[in-house]
Symmetry: C2
Subunit: 353 residues, 2 copies
């Protein structure tokens, strides 16, 4: 098969980790007789520098024309300390999500046996953790009307959801639960928020269409606790945009493998795959960044966007092998062992596929 | 001195744990020659049952007339599964906060050496943790306009903050930081929300009045991560209502001493002290609930509301002693040891003051 993949390397270590994911993807394509055309495009701080906006129209067209988008990371310290600057990389991210209609952010959290002791949590608390958050990504308080009144003395942000928005996200949640343990948790704050009550009643009404799925409803504050206490008690969780922002980041640190976690944002027009880590500006150009989260994001892309299960499994298997054999960058290296460079890890993966 | 304390025992185990806190407070008062008048009042499910509303006017008047409020817990399972029921205990809580002007929720998280191994986190991650959240409690999305349009198909919640609301909360934060390590963290989502940008600019403008305090600004998602990774890197944190709801609950489980954490809500007219745990309906009437969080809330009341530092220290000392000697309820009992009853723990504390 032939695939066109938009390649948004972004800022900081983005280009370096993307490079390794491309190498591995090309090797897999060759092995399984596919043809990949990569179409690079600018986004983030590098796009602001080049053309003045963080998500140029040209980039949008390249994404729309592609079968999937592979994304690195964006962000640069020169924009960090001023969230009121007129143009910022994050705006590009939000615009991209909205314009590409990426309404569901899929964030798995799972453990790698060889990394479990890196977790801040005790082994017995996290063993077996394998959960997935579906975060709504194009609605809620992120995109509602916001502004000032009273001469700037009062600020407001509106959180808005429609039943249709909840339904399409929840549908993905039910479907995902059906392929897993058939447990779905709807995270809301229905004891306080009207939008949460809409979420809850909408999901409740959908239960009858998925009689095999057991649905629980939990308040966001309770989930923030239980995620630290018993992360392995969760399976599929669905939630709105802001709760998802907070909880998925919280969840990402429990497994001890944050630097390895992939993610997907799926939507109406296309889907986008990216590591959950940031652009680590301090490491830019040093060839030390861990490329595995991006490589695993490519695996998600093969499986979910192209339906290529075997290809995805092959990538995951070689990543596991590299971890077991200690072919890892400095963030994961065992005491006394030598760290591999970003590009060495990629080369090793390609050679061992 | 003479003190009048409104006593809101609430639901579930509330009356039982309040009872022990009253015993200990009375013993302290006797020892230090104070006179306490307790004025009981209804709130929560028991108030709904008795008079149809969760925060009756009479209760409000009793609180307004008191020097402080000691609060147990509210909530009953018959209201749990229906956040859309017309009358619910939580509404009483929100109304009480608003009417009493309790704008700052003070939530310390600290470790007890003897309980540190109860934590889901590894010992080396939490040793030395001693942080305090100041959560804004009467503004934000909890109290903004909320409702439906489009025949119920669209729901909205408005998040609103004024500069004055941010200032009075932040002032408490700066003042608290001055009494501790002079480190203040402002938690917001200023890269997305206009209310967060108001928070940030307001706090930034106040920095010059507290030149000794070092202020950091962190995004809520990053804090949700770092709280699990390095809780002992924080000291005083200030944040808005909803972020505070999520983060204080998350923080409460890291120390392994959740059942012992007290809290205060301070405001314009009075201040209120309560354990952070809930009403544990399953344990109601069994005389097994842990009263220590409520006893420690009374200690906070002596110190913060009445300025009685020595009295507070005496309560904390005897609580520590009970923990060290294993005079604890079943939730904390060591393997093989016998659990004490709620009232036995209280009796022991009184006898050992
Ligand atoms: C950068 C920021 C706008 C973004 C978000 O809040 O969605 C990020 O935190 C994320 O989760 O992808
Ligand atoms: C019961 C609920 C309304 C309340 C809140 O969200 O404030 C509770 O979670 C709390 O933190 O005191």
């Amino acid at each position: 098969m032939k695939y066109t993949i938009a390649l948004l390397a972004g800022d900081g270590i983005g280009p370096e980790v993307i490079n390794e994911a491309v190498k591995v993807s090309d090797a897999i394509a060759k092995k399984f007789n596919h043809e990949i055309t990569w179409t690079p495009a600018l986004t983030g701080a590098c796009a602001i520098d080049a053309v003045g906006v963080p998500y140029p129209d040209e980039t949008h067209e390249i994404c729309m024309a592609a079968d999937a988008v592979l994304f690195g990371a964006i962000g640069h310290p020169k924009y960090d300390n001023d969230p009121t600057a007129p143009v910022r990389p994050e705006q590009g991210l939000l615009l991209m999500r909205k314009k590409l209609g990426l309404f569901a952010n899929v964030r798995p959290t799972f453990t790698f046996p060889s990394l479990i002791d890196n977790s801040p949590l005790k082994r017995e608390r996290i063993e077996g953790t394998d959960l997935v958050f579906l975060r709504e990504l194009t609605g809620g308080i992120y995109f509602g009307e916001k502004g000032r009144r009273d001469g700037g003395e009062t600020a407001f942000d509106n959180c808005v959801y429609t039943r249709a928005e909840v339904q399409r996200l929840a549908k993905k949640g039910f479907e995902l639960a059906m392929t897993r343990s058939k447990k779905l948790c709807c995270v809301d704050k229905a004891n306080v928020l009207e939008t949460s009550r809409l979420w809850r009643e909408t999901v409740q009404a959908m239960e009858k269409d998925y009689p095999e799925v057991t649905v629980s409803y939990e308040f966001v504050d309770a989930v923030a606790m239980r995620l630290v206490q018993w992360p392995n008690s969760y399976d599929v969780l669905i939630t709105e945009n802001l709760f998802g922002d907070i909880l998925t980041d919280e969840a990402s640190v429990i497994s001890g493998s944050m630097g390895l976690m992939p993610s997907a944002s799926v939507g109406e027009h296309t889907s986008l795959y990216e590591p959950i880590h940031g652009s680590y500006p301090q490491a830019t150009g040093l060839n030390i960044a861990n490329p595995l989260a991006t490589v695993l994001s490519a695996a998600m892309m093969f499986e979910d966007a192209f339906g290529l299960t075997e290809e995805a499994a092959a990538i995951r298997a070689v990543v596991n092998k590299s971890l077991e054999q200690g072919i890892v960058t400095e963030d994961l290296v065992a005491k006394g062992a030598t760290a591999y460079k970003t590009s060495d890890v990629g080369d090793w993966l390609v050679a061992n596929l």
